[in-house]
């Protein structure tokens, strides 16, 4: 390659890399924001009847993930005739990120499973998680245990999800 072409290529390369990095920095921030909104969706008893409504605002903080590793932490409150309690599972480390779920138990039944953290180390992992999580949730609600099939193509996420769930159920003596 002649010198002029080589120089032009080098300049173009630098420009393209810079442009990519610039637009990537923007996405990296939104990615972080998404994670925050996922982990901030705290659920208290009573509001859990309606199904998985993840409407926590991104700004409302990181406080909920304080009780991490080891045993699950519970925060049950009772309202009226029915008793709803939530239990956080352990944080399970995987190569694709950390997984932690929260289970809501009402009247001796699993009524809700909420992911506090899901694998999101790479964009594809986040995508797999968002596909697998709803399926796992409905299977768990149907089986009323953590003893369900893992999702094909999302083995790692499923295993971590169910491990965390089992820890939460153990904590609930379910």
């Amino acid at each position: 390659m002649r010198i002029r072409a080589a120089l032009a290529t080098a300049v173009a390369s630098a420009g393209i890399l810079l442009a990519g990095w610039q637009s990537g920095a923007h996405i990296a921030e939104t990615g972080a924001a998404t994670t925050t909104s996922l982990s901030s969706s705290t659920k208290s008893g009573g509001t859990s009847s309606g199904g998985g409504t993840n409407t926590g605002s991104p700004s409302s903080g990181t406080g909920s993930s304080s009780g991490n590793t080891g045993t699950g932490s519970s925060s049950g409150t009772s309202t009226g005739s029915t008793t709803a309690a939530t239990f956080d599972g352990t944080q399970v480390q995987t190569r694709f990120g950390t997984v932690q779920v929260r289970v809501t138990i009402q009247d001796g039944k699993i009524t809700e499973v909420t992911p506090l953290q899901l694998t999101d180390a790479e964009r594809k992992s986040a995508q797999i998680s968002s596909r697998a999580a709803p399926v796992l949730r409905s299977e768990v609600l149907q089986a009323q245990s953590a003893n369900v099939q893992t999702i094909g193509g999302a083995t790692v996420t499923s295993d971590a999800y169910l491990t965390s769930l089992q820890a939460a159920l153990d904590a609930a003596n379910f």
Partner: protein, 486 residues
């Protein structure tokens, strides 16, 4: 003229002298060369930028966010290595796809040279990809890289395929190393090389399921889809469809085999639509003679005469001239008239398409003389503006020497026969007595620095010629060298 393949038409195909008052053809070749070099530069830039784009798109999809931790950094480095490695592998496939745009810009042999030079870097990048990702994933889970690799193999779907792919890539590159390649027959290397397709095929599933290359909603998805599909289509079109189409279009059939010297023979073929191959003189085809025990071998040979288009009364004619170099070409000498021939080509830049100047110098030795013979027939130049030097141990080694002499007489070319035992030292390409007497390139050709120089012959000999040609001040773009013993 009697021994010429096409005595009547070769006179017709001679270019008419340019009418007075018109600017000389100098601009034609200079412009052609400038455009060709610009295309070559553009292709080079596209090649580089494809790798850059792979990394840039990964960054654009948020790749840099992983650099915050050790594990993330290792994984990110591994991913970048994998992306560039994959890009190089696809570039290598494209370089070997015999795409006309590439062939016309840099020539088939240069494309394969670049292809070869990318082999090891691509393999190292893919190995680094595996290593860094294993370290990165392992660090995220508190495992050492080896246990992490085993766990990936067992637990993550499609990952075992990726390991198989890695092994295949290693096999392909190792069997292509010069030292290893010499130990095995060509066919063994070829079959192992075909495994490249399996290697790419087994690498793709984990890029879908584990990596984010094809994740929905990303830029990378479209880039890699386009690159993979484009490469696949280019291979299917130019390496499978085009050769089949050319073979059917031309319907080549061996008409006779003529012995030129004890170990050199010409194979003449008849065929249809040969006007479409005009200007292919000097370029090469891969020939596959469809006879029992032969059809599975294809041989690269240059045309030794410009194709003669047929008309209503007689079929078109085509000729190659072959030296008995190996077992394969020995069998060719006994090929029967009537044998059908499948072709791939024409390929290469040993043609008028490479011209950049008005004057032409051709230097050939041994069987390398024969492509010059067909180039000499058609490439345009004015009388007195071409010089041909042909080298052989004795007269009998100047294959097609009679034809070349007749062409030189008809077109006003200065012809030198360089005969005698070889010399050693600086001018090894010249006969010993000539070199000892102090003659050199300048003794034969005046003004070579402003001429196109075509060199064809055995590589050590050609290397010696090229050294002298470069010393005479001929720039690289005017030097055209065909390697025919790869």
């Amino acid at each position: 003229m009697t021994s010429l393949l096409n005595p009547d038409t070769s006179a017709d195909s001679m270019p008419a002298p340019p009418p007075a008052g018109r600017p000389p053809a100098v601009d034609r070749f200079r412009t052609q060369s400038r455009r060709r070099l610009a295309r070559a530069d553009l292709l080079g830039a596209v090649g580089w930028l494809s790798g850059v784009a792979a990394v840039a798109l990964w960054l654009a999809d948020g790749g840099a966010s992983g650099f915050s931790s050790f594990a993330g950094t290792m994984t990110a480095l591994g991913i970048v290595a994998g992306l560039i490695g994959m890009d190089l592998v696809l570039l290598m496939l494209l370089l070997a796809a015999r795409i006309p745009v590439v062939d016309n810009a840099i020539g088939h042999d240069r494309a394969l040279e670049i292809h070869k030079s990318l082999g090891k870097p691509a393999l190292y990048l893919l190995l680094a990809h595996g290593l860094f990702v294993a370290i990165g994933y392992g660090a995220a889970e508190g495992l050492d890289p080896l246990s992490e690799s085993i766990s990936l193999w067992i637990n993550v779907p499609d990952m075992w395929l990726a390991f198989v792919s890695m092994a295949l890539f290693i096999a392909v590159v190792v069997t292509s190393l010069v030292a290893v390649r010499r130990k095995f027959p060509y066919e063994f290397w070829y079959v192992v090389h075909l495994l490249t397709y399996a290697a790419v095929g087994t690498a793709i599933p984990h890029q879908f399921s584990v990596g984010g290359l094809f994740a929905e909603g990303t830029w990378q998805r479209w880039y890699w889809l386009a690159l993979c599909i484009g490469t696949g289509l280019a291979l299917a079109w130019f390496r499978v469809y085009q050769p089949l189409a050319a073979s059917f279009r031309h319907q080549l059939t061996v008409s006779r085999v003529v012995r030129v010297s004890p170990d050199v023979f010409s194979i003449e073929m008849t065929g249809r639509n040969l006007e479409r191959l005009s200007g292919a003189g000097g370029r090469f085809f891969l020939w596959r003679f469809l006879a029992p025990g032969q059809w599975w071998q294809s041989h690269p040979f240059s045309l030794s005469a410009e194709p003669v288009p047929g008309d209503r009364n007689r079929p078109g004619k085509l000729r190659i001239t072959v030296r008995n170099l190996g077992e394969g070409s020995a069998r060719l000498a006994r090929i029967r008239p009537g044998t059908k021939v499948a072709i791939e080509g024409p390929y290469g830049l040993f043609s008028t398409a490479a011209r950049s100047r008005d004057d032409v110098v051709m230097i050939g030795a041994g069987i390398g003389i024969t492509p010059l013979r067909s180039l000499l027939e058609t490439t345009p130049f004015e009388p007195g503006h071409a010089t041909v030097l042909i080298r052989g141990h004795d007269e009998s080694e100047l294959f097609l020497g009679q034809e070349i002499m007749a062409l030189c007489q008809a077109r006003g070319v200065t012809l030198f026969h360089l005969l005698g035992p070889r010399s050693h030292g600086d001018h090894a390409w010249l006969p010993r007595d000539v070199a000892q007497a102090g003659f050199g390139l300048h003794s034969y050709v005046q003004g070579i620095a402003d001429a196109d120089v075509y060199v064809c012959g055995p590589s050590p000999w050609a290397a010696s010629v090229i050294r002298d040609v470069e010393l005479a001040g001929v720039p690289a773009e005017q030097l055209h060298y065909e390697r025919f013993d790869w």
